[in-house]
Symmetry: C2
Subunit: 251 residues, 2 copies
C-alpha cells in the first residue's frame, strides 16, 4: 500500500464521516494538536492518554482516532512536528543589518514562541518518549540543524570548521536550557534582557573560539567589520573594555 | 512493608539462592549494571529488554530478576544512578591552583569518564524513558546540580546571582552537548584540546555575563586576580588580545 500523508488521511476520513464534524477538518486537527501539546508540555508523555487529549479538546476518543489513526504515538509526533515547524520558520531572517542585529531579531521571535507556545516548546524539547524515541529525537535535532544552518548562512560560511559548528551548537544548547529555565522561573528576566544576554553569549563563545582556531578568527574579523558602535556587538565591546583592567596582569 | 534498599534486597536474595552464584554479589551486580549501561547507551531504552541484558551478561533472566526484582525500570535507574554517582565524584577538586587550573583538572576527569564509560555517559545523558521519566530526569539533574555546586564553591560565591547560575548552567549544557558530539565523532579533537576549549568557553561565557551584571563583574575581578600569565585564563587573555584590533572601530 502506498504511504498516505497524515493530512490526506485525516481529510479523507473526515469527509467520509462529515456528520461528526462541527469544526472544519484543519481547525479540528489544529485543536487536537494544541490540546496534545498542552498535555505533553505539562506531563511526561507516558502519563498522557488519548482519553486525556479527547477530554481536553472536548471531543470523543473515536474522533481523536479518526484524525490520528496511529493513536497516541502519531498524535505526539504530529504535535512535536507542528511545534518544530513553526519554531524553525522563526529562524529565517533577511540579510539586513549587522550579524548581531539579525541574531537579535531571530532570538526575539524565538523567545516569543517560547513565551506564547510555552507548553509546545517544553514538549518539543523535553521530548521524552512514547515509542520510537529516535524518530521524536530526530524532530528536535532537525530544529537544531535548521538553527545552525541559518546562523552559518548569516555568517556567510558555506564550509564551517568543525570547531565553529561545535561552538554554534553549544550556543544553541545554551539557548534551549536558558529558555526552559526562563519558563520555569516565571519568565524572568524580561525577554528583551534575556535576548540581549543570549546575543552576548554568542559573541563571547565565538570570540574565545576564534582565539584558538584560525578559521574562526578569520570569520570573526569579517563579522566584526560589519558591526557598528550601536549594534549589539558594539555595545558588548564597550562594556567588555571595563574588564580589561583586572586582566592586565595576565598579558 | 518497610522499604528495602536495592543493595540489601539483592544481597539477601543472593544469600538465599547462593547455589546460582559464580560471582560475589557486588561483582555480579556491577556486571549486570555494566551490561545494562552498555545496552542502554547504544539503543533507545524502550528497545532494550531484560533478556538482552541477561544475554549480554551471560546469565539467566531469573538471575537478573533476583538482583533487580523491579525489572527493567529498576535496572535502568540503577545503571543511571551508578553512572551519575561516579561522574559526580569527579567534580570534586582541591582548592589549589587558579580557578581555571582547577576547572581544567575537573574537566580532564570528566572527559576521561566520557571516554572510558562512553556507553554509560550516553545512557545517562540521553536519558529517554521506560516509565517514570521524572525520576530518571531527576538523576541527571542531580549530576548537573553537583557540577554547578562545585563550580560555585571554587568561585567562592555562596549566594550567586541568578544570572551567574544561568551562565554556569549554560556552560554545563554546552559541555554535555560537546561531550556527546565528541563521542559521536570518534573522539576528535584530542581530549586535552577539547578540555582547553571548554575552559575558554567558560571564561568567555562568564566574561560577557560580567559585562552586563555587576555581581558577576565583581566576582570576575576576584577570580581574575587569582589567575596568572601561565594559567588557562592567562593563556586565553593573551590570545584574545589579537582580536582587539578588528574590534577597535566598535569602541
Amino acid at each position: 500500500m502506498a504511504p498516505v500523508t497524515l493530512r490526506g488521511m485525516a481529510a479523507s476520513e473526515a469527509v467520509k464521516r462529515g456528520a461528526y464534524r462541527r469544526l472544519p477538518v484543519e481547525k479540528r486537527r489544529e485543536q487536537l494538536i494544541a490540546a496534545a501539546q498542552d498535555l505533553f508540555g505539562h506531563e511526561p508523555p507516558e502519563e498522557v492518554s488519548l482519553d486525556d487529549v479527547a477530554a481536553a479538546a472536548g471531543v470523543s476518543r473515536p474522533l481523536v482516532y479518526r484524525y490520528f489513526p496511529g493513536g497516541k504515538q502519531q498524535l505526539y509526533e504530529a504535535a512535536l512536528r507542528e511545534a518544530a515547524q513553526e519554531l524553525s520558520e522563526r529562524f529565517v531572517e533577511p540579510a539586513q543589518g549587522t550579524p548581531t542585529q539579525r541574531l537579535s531579531n531571530a532570538l526575539d521571535r524565538y523567545l516569543a514562541f517560547v513565551d506564547e507556545r510555552a507548553a509546545g516548546y517544553a514538549a518539543l524539547l523535553r521530548g521524552g518518549c512514547v515509542a520510537e524515541t529516535s524518530r521524536t529525537n530526530a524532530i528536535v535535532d532537525e530544529v537544531r540543524r535548521r538553527a545552525l544552518e541559518q546562523i552559518l548562512v548569516h555568517l556567510d560560511v558555506p564550509e564551517p570548521s568543525p570547531r565553529l559548528v561545535l561552538a554554534v551548537r553549544s550556543w544553541i544548547a545554551s539557548v534551549e536550557m536558558v529558555s526552559l529555565t526562563w519558563l520555569d522561573q516565571g519568565r524572568q528576566p524580561p525577554a528583551d534582557e534575556l535576548r540581549a544576554w543570549l546575543v552576548d553569549l554568542f559573541v563571547g563563545m565565538l570570540g574565545v573560539t576564534a582565539a584558538g582556531d584560525d578559521r574562526v578568527e578569520a570569520l570573526m574579523h569579517t563579522a566584526l567589520a560589519q558591526e557598528s558602535r550601536t549594534s549589539p556587538a558594539g555595545d558588548l565591546a564597550q562594556r567588555l573594555t571595563r574588564l580589561g583592567e583586572p586582566a592586565a596582569h595576565l598579558l
